[in-house]
Symmetry: C2
Subunit: 416 residues, 2 copies
Amino acid sequence: MTARIEADYLIETPGDPERAAMAMAGEQSSGTFVTVPGETPELRARSAAQVERLSVIGTAEAPSLPGSAHRDGPVSRAELTLSWPMGNVGPDIVNLLPTVAGNLFELKQFSGLRLLDIRLPKAFAERYTGPKFGIDGTRWLAGVEHGPLIGTIVKPSVGLGAGQTADLAGQLAAAGIDFIKDDELQANGPSCPFDDRARAVMDRLDRSADKYGKKVMYAFNVTGEVDEMRRRHDLVRDLGGTCIMVSLNAIGLTGLLALSRHSELPIHAHRNGWGYLSRHPMLGWSYPAWSKFWRLAGADHMHVNGLKNKFSESDDSVIASARSLFEPMFDDHPCVPMPVFSSGQSAVQPDETFARLGRADLIYAAGGGIMAHPDGPAAGVDSLRDAWTAAMRRIPPHEYARTHPALSRALDTYAS
Amino acid sequence: MTARIEADYLIETPGDPERAAMAMAGEQSSGTFVTVPGETPELRARSAAQVERLSVIGTAEAPSLPGSAHRDGPVSRAELTLSWPMGNVGPDIVNLLPTVAGNLFELKQFSGLRLLDIRLPKAFAERYTGPKFGIDGTRWLAGVEHGPLIGTIVKPSVGLGAGQTADLAGQLAAAGIDFIKDDELQANGPSCPFDDRARAVMDRLDRSADKYGKKVMYAFNVTGEVDEMRRRHDLVRDLGGTCIMVSLNAIGLTGLLALSRHSELPIHAHRNGWGYLSRHPMLGWSYPAWSKFWRLAGADHMHVNGLKNKFSESDDSVIASARSLFEPMFDDHPCVPMPVFSSGQSAVQPDETFARLGRADLIYAAGGGIMAHPDGPAAGVDSLRDAWTAAMRRIPPHEYARTHPALSRALDTYAS
């Protein structure tokens, strides 16, 4: 356990990495671009950020980002760790952001800067609840003891009215789904108002629960202002719903804290916008660092994309993200959310997903992988369950498919 | 006035720009990566995003970002406009974010994607208050009728206790400053608790007001959870303070709305973290688009960096940002905040700043430019006022400096 706040960075600089690291430590604590009278040696000793470690990892022929001190020529890359005393910011994740991820990305000393990870003193664990439900609570509410929750997203994302959304939810419940989520594009659109949708969907899912003996977990997208989110949460809870969803980058850390401190339901955390935070490898955020803020703030389910996804993220990055979520943040306060795999998922990817991750404590969400199965949505759900059963038993999918026709059709359909 | 929501993008794609634009419109509205049964022609007509305009602007030799469909070879660049019907999202800026700035940055079709601007239907103007004070309210509260508010930042950023911060504020008030702000690194650190600082600083500024006849505007950094921010706002108001400050990327849009709907004071909006949102020219956000969300949400002062700043941003970008803030968002609801120029500013930059901007309705914040003036802080403040007076009268600074020694010393000191 660290006594100071620590953050790891990947940096790229046209100058001396050691000097650049010192400038960064100064900018993010007691220094500024000129010496000011109040910056005494005592004050620096008390408040300055320190460079704990620095290792040069290589060079590149030209700067990755514009605006650095030198426009052309070779640059050095390094990994470094900065640390801050707790007296500067205290156990406060909202104000930790300007400290570890504030102005530093604009510094001229760098032609690349990415936050890789953070480590926090125990006082943070004492202040923040973390996920109230996480993996165990979600399994209990969804009635899924082992293996992944097989899930899907309402598609089309927008355009369906409340009644049509409920019809689709009923159809998916009949198909045996465990989990359904609103799309992030649908929260309270005039064509599908939140309250109408929540009432219609829960009415349908209650009837399905009576019929099939299991209540599907539906993540209602409550994204909005604080009072709206809390009121929508209360409506879902009162209707017997078991999950709410938010777009993290839309509501912000203060928004999530306002909701999570109020919430009595698992919070499904959508990361849309993640591309602008992460897509350039020498700029922005790595997922392990970014997700730790939301884990402390109470996110129960965290999106990580999926293998062979329809987006630009590599499989290695997806697996690294999911693994990072399973690592405890503190020994006695792990803050482990349930990872959500989605984006272009079908019965094709479970085999490799389980082989690389070694766990099935996740939500596995497929849209087309269920709805576009040639034998219909029930076969789509079956194919995903079969694929996961095979994966967890280490049976090659094509072998298992010989006796499981839904999986067989799915592999033929989606493998191309 | 547009009847649909519109967003302009800069894109880069290894494929056909027209096809990529269609994929983007689909992903951000009713489409997904495979055809799903519910996506009827009627639904598409009602809910699909449309490509309104597309113009190819050039090519590049290689992709700007990794993860696109093709790793090497030439790519096309284009500017395009998408539009959405109001039925999808309604007048809701929080949920507008996932629509115009959500998953699309991760699409494989693109090796670059940047949001350039947005235009919104009138219903948004009706729902959101915008800046409650803006330029006129700030001038009135600060007692500055013409020209910029001459401001500074508490430095060292962290490390001073409440009493030391108050001493510094008193010294700056005696020096004739109009505006002081907390650093974004200091909100409620254990070494400088918010309440102690607010009480100590306001006590000192009240005494200065009695002595010099003017109450300095002090932007207290209230960044935190919703209840904390509101309580701190109330304390500042009750103490007779005239401004509060927040870190926008830390609190998020929902956080700012929760504060601004409650606030009776101007909100000074700090953009730390802006680098990770903007520094790669083919990724993320342009300032005109980004700032419109915060303008609608109630930001009264918006940071734009400054000319010849210590960061990586170009002067052209700084001026474009500041100009964009002066452009009305709606004819009868302009939502114009006061731009804040800062970062490495001194008496050197006002001449060019005014020449390029044509206005002085701004806060001009200097740290070292005041505190490190060889004749002391009062001379530092005088040098900035002199520089602005010369600039607004179109008198060359060195000519004006002949009869203004504080300016003369400042130009000698900072021009190197």
